[in-house]
Symmetry: C2
Subunit: 348 residues, 2 copies
């Protein structure tokens, strides 16, 4: 994965304690470290460094430092920058979290499990007078979805799988819309997006009956020329998370969707035996299902994460896919003329 340039925050400031030390645990799978990579790329000025509890852990490329050194450099919170299937905080991380608390850092987590529910962590936070902050807490009064058409325009990113660029794509599109003078909000649906933007709803923590209602709440009625660019979640083809993806699609009622993919990924992350769908299958199914709440839905283009490819390989792939699919195809991290064509197609 290559580094994107730092950008100003896209939404309201958060009151989370900052700057951050990014915690990578003992995670060796880059796909599980998307929170850390997202903060590095979209909130670089809020990150003083990274910290792991295993020498084999993935790295963001930021300076490695222990909590005490990070505190001395200004850090005020350790952010858990990795996820895992199930959203748990394993025993192997606990000593590192206690070390952070003892060094004067609060802990910010987007995991399913509540920090305060872990006795050792709760005890240490109390002892050192530090805060435990869970950002994966949905609003209290989410309504049941109505399906009513809302004013304003909406764009949703969808994917062939989890953890391959839906948030990056939405952030990059929102930034580029803003650069062109469009009135736009990035709408975060996951913990990293919420940490970056300071607002949003953690879709995957909402009770299932209210998930589409949460998506409706996330992008309310707006000026007819206003755009909400909504971070997608999961995939309609993911055997664990497709329900969340469908609720988000129905509730977002997008005018435009962007299909997101990673070059070379062939199987669904974390669920052995499930082949990735073809991009055109994702486009067709999103169109079919999305038309239920917005009959005017259309695909604005495709983004492909080409971080593992050379420049030449990426260019060849992106052009070949654009030709094959008859749509703008770009890597938003690489940007350039291809991404500008995709932006133009969305705004056309």
């Amino acid at each position: 994965m290559i580094a994107a340039r730092p950008v100003p925050p896209l939404a309201i400031e958060t009151d989370l304690p900052q700057p951050y030390l990014l915690f990578l645990g003992d995670t060796i799978e880059p796909g599980f470290a998307k929170t850390a990579f997202g903060l590095r790329d979209w909130a670089r000025d809020k990150c003083v460094g990274e910290f792991a509890c295993s020498p084999d852990a993935v790295s963001t490329g930021l300076p490695h430092m222990r909590p005490a050194a990070a505190y001395a450099k200004g850090a005020r919170a350790l952010v858990i920058g990795v996820a895992n299937s199930g959203g748990i905080i394993p025993i192997s991380w606990r000593a590192s979290l206690v070390e952070a608390l003892s060094a004067g850092l609060d802990i910010v987590s987007g995991m399913h499990v509540r920090l305060a529910s872990l006795p050792d962590i709760a005890e240490a936070a109390s002892r050192f007078g530090r805060r435990l902050i869970d950002v994966r807490s949905p609003p209290a009064a989410i309504p049941i979805a109505t399906g009513r058409k809302r004013s304003g325009k909406r764009l949703l990113t969808v994917g062939t799988d989890c953890a391959l660029g839906k948030k990056y794509t939405a952030l990059a599109i929102a930034r580029e819309f803003r650069n062109r003078g469009v009135d736009v909000d990035f709408r975060a649906t996951g913990q990293t997006g919420i940490m970056i933007s300071g607002g949003g709803i953690p879709m995957d923590a909402v009770i299932a009956d209210f998930a589409a209602g949460a998506a409706e709440m996330l992008s309310p009625d707006a000026d007819p020329a206003h755009w909400d660019v909504i971070e997608g979640q999961g995939s309609l083809f993911h055997p664990a998370y497709a329900g969340v993806s469908l609720a988000l699609l129905h509730g977002s009622q997008p005018d435009i969707f962007i299909a997101c993919h990673e070059a070379g990924r062939e199987t669904i992350l974390g669920t052995p035996g499930f082949a990735l769908p073809e991009i055109e299958e994702v486009i067709a199914l999103t169109h079919t299902l999305g038309a239920r709440t917005n009959p005017a839905i259309r695909c604005g283009g495709v983004t492909i994460n080409t971080a593992h490819l050379s420049d030449a390989e990426a260019s060849a792939l992106l052009d070949a896919e654009a030709e094959r699919l008859g749509l703008p195809v770009a890597d938003p991290v690489r940007g350039g003329a291809r991404f500008e064509r995709l932006i133009a197609a969305c705004l056309a």
Copy 2:
């Protein structure tokens, strides 16, 4: 709606206080009273009568009586037999619930809102020494779905909408399978089914990320000849609940699905402006999406709720639809040769 014959319970006995007085509130929409109708039809021997707080409320046809009279006839719990969009307990019901508590009845609820969170109800329960029982409580440790193929056979009911016969169909199929000597369990996914059978998972109360995992947990590995007959929820075409339906479909990995419909229903319940899908659209989409976790999925037939039709009208409709769709079509409440053909097609 016509009354079905009483049947023995299909699963393990519950330890809920019984028998029941069915509470109908002030609900005038029969579609919202499916809990009361379900208990009347599938657990008739556990119901002593009904009670409402408005003379205009729907009726199950059971004897109407106040809580004190019901207690004298043996009732030990008032069951909230109606739902509404959002699962709330309105102010207009509260005096009736307090009357039940004062008469010696516990209260059993499947609503989203917890009985004990309502100060007036909690105070009255404490004062009269009665229990408040919420059956819409999912198990504590639901895993993320894996998509792994499980042993045994599964049947899932799906629908063109909510509240039109998916539970009835599943109960009737499970009963008929049992009558034919098949090793079968009815698997409840909603509050009424849980009250009837004494077990199950309230799918709509599960956190969205875990919904498919809950469905996997509900029908575990079993003997190759064993059938789980799983109660469907919502509809893939419902703008509020499609995500729940998709998670249940993926997690159930059914070998057979039955498409359920109500004769004459033209719009989605509770969401104005949404036309009901055609039955064949439901079959096609269920097949497409269900194949993700069970490529061998097939439609075993269609059930149509013809409660509002005469015998002659119902017969004509069922035969015409069977001809048009090329599938067994039956009303499980009416039963008969059409339903026997559907059962045979499922077991073929």
